[in-house]
């Protein structure tokens, strides 16, 4: 008997839990061998200054602080548009590590236009898929920090919106 006849058809891929721009970046990194992954991380790190606030931009939330989890000050600037979609800008102190710079560019681009709710629900499991399990293992404390700060900013804004509605 043809075994395949008894097997149920392959279910369709479940919808991605990641915003489309971030999903595209994840897909790109997953397709790269280790050396090219590092090269791309460095390339993203070199774009981190482009994520800084532009002159005249206004924000709904500005959170600039130095935490013990990071080697220098990080400023998170968040603007929410009429559709409750997030637009981030981030400033990094000069001592911030390269992986953190790379994650800053990746997340600013990948989460551009995502809703606050989508960002809050975002699982962190994509980080090793971008950075590679090896780098996560050897420097785990540096790779999640920016995502945590961005989620923290979203949470503050969501709480503020809830308070205004109440």
């Amino acid at each position: 008997m043809d075994k395949s006849c008894n097997e149920p058809p392959e279910p369709p891929d479940p919808p991605s839990v990641y915003p489309p721009k971030l999903a595209a970046i994840i897909g790109l990194f997953e397709s790269l061998p280790e050396e090219e992954k590092r090269e791309n991380l460095v390339a993203y790190s070199e774009q981190s200054r482009r994520q800084e606030p532009k002159e005249g931009e206004k924000f709904d939330l500005e959170d600039v602080r130095k935490d013990e989890e990071c080697t220098d000050t990080v400023g998170v600037f968040l603007r929410v548009d009429a559709e409750n979609r997030a637009h981030f800008r981030i400033t990094l102190g000069p001592q911030v590590q390269t992986l953190t710079k790379a994650m800053t560019s990746i997340l600013c681009k990948g989460l551009e236009g995502a809703t606050l709710g989508e960002i809050m629900e975002l699982p962190a499991d994509f980080v090793p898929r971008i950075v590679g399990g090896h780098l996560v293992r050897i420097r785990s404390h540096t790779v999640y920090y920016i995502l945590t700060r961005m989620k923290s900013a979203c949470k503050v804004l969501l709480n503020r919106q809830r308070a205004e509605r109440a």
Binding site: R38, E39, L41, V42, S45, E46, K66, E68, E69, C70, T71, Q97, T98, L99, A102, H134, L135, I138, R139, H141
Partner: protein, 273 residues
């Protein structure tokens, strides 16, 4: 060695420049021409057991980086050379004797606008002989030896920040908590933060200044049996280098288990002050 000297000797025969950093991708962003990258964790530590690589793995590491037993290895790195001192100390564990540190490290080189490149050099494979032994007994201290040092009131130098020494914090300032359960210091240890040995630009202080700190200030004699420790052994490698290479002390050991071992060990004696 100074940045000026290295700038003039970048392609000296039978030398190899090695970058070792805390920032795992920093080498990829640009490094000294001809420098290879040796990561303190990926390349020098055993991937499973908390220990260093085997002599065979060390020989393979050197061979693939074009390092022979007579090659002078010139180390430099970020964070005031913590990790390059750590890598240098690890090379000494395997008996590699020709080692130097770039005074001021990577930051000084970059600030001076000296040459950097992203080009990763390729060197002909060498046949580094497998070291006959690892010099753990000579330059490394384990928990039991640090405990014995404490009980015998022999010199123990705690090179962490004052807050860590006093037990006010269980991690280095600006770093995450790494799972240490107790704060404080090894009984009898003296607090001499690693930073005491360097100027603001991370270059080492003069021999006279270092003698004033360690010899006169701490009463350490050149032939004293000294153990230095910190959190995981990187900052104490820096002090080990200062005492051994800049002051010529003959019996200094690095307790690399350091506070992440001591502060978690059941019934390890602790002082707070």
């Amino acid at each position: 060695m100074s940045t000026e000297w290295l700038s003039d000797h970048l392609h000296e025969p039978n030398t190899r420049i090695v970058e070792s950093n805390e920032d795992v991708l920093l080498y990829d962003t640009g490094h000294l021409p001809g420098a290879v990258h040796i990561d303190w964790r990926q390349d020098l530590q055993d991937p499973l057991v908390r220990d260093y690589i085997s002599p065979k793995a060390f020989a393979e590491l050197c061979s693939r980086n074009g390092i022979g037993p007579d090659t002078t290895v010139l180390f430099y790195g970020d964070k005031s050379n913590w990790w390059s001192c750590y890598a240098l100390w690890a090379f000494r564990l395997f008996g590699h004797e020709k080692v130097k540190i770039l005074d001021g490290g990577r930051d000084k080189w970059i600030k001076e606008g000296r040459a950097v490149t992203k080009e990763k050099p390729q060197f002909a494979q060498t046949e580094y002989p497998v070291p006959a032994k690892r010099y753990d007994a000579e330059i490394r201290a384990f928990y039991e030896e640090a405990l014995e040092q404490s009980k015998a009131a022999r010199p123990l130098i705690d090179v962490r920040s004052p807050g860590e020494f006093k037990g006010e914090v269980t991690h280095m300032p600006e770093y995450p908590q790494e799972g240490v359960l107790r704060g404080g210091h090894i009984p009898g240890a003296r607090s001499v933060p690693w930073k005491t040995a360097v100027k603001d630009d991370a270059t080492f202080k003069s021999a006279d200044e270092l003698q004033a700190i360690y010899t006169k200030g701490c009463g350490l004699k050149p032939d004293d049996d000294i153990v230095a420790y910190c959190r995981i052994g990187e900052r104490s490698s820096h002090t080990w280098f200062v005492l051994t290479y800049l002051l010529g002390y003959t019996k200094v050991r690095n307790y690399d288990g350091s506070w992440t071992e001591w502060g978690n060990k059941v019934r390890a004696p602790i002082e707070r002050s």
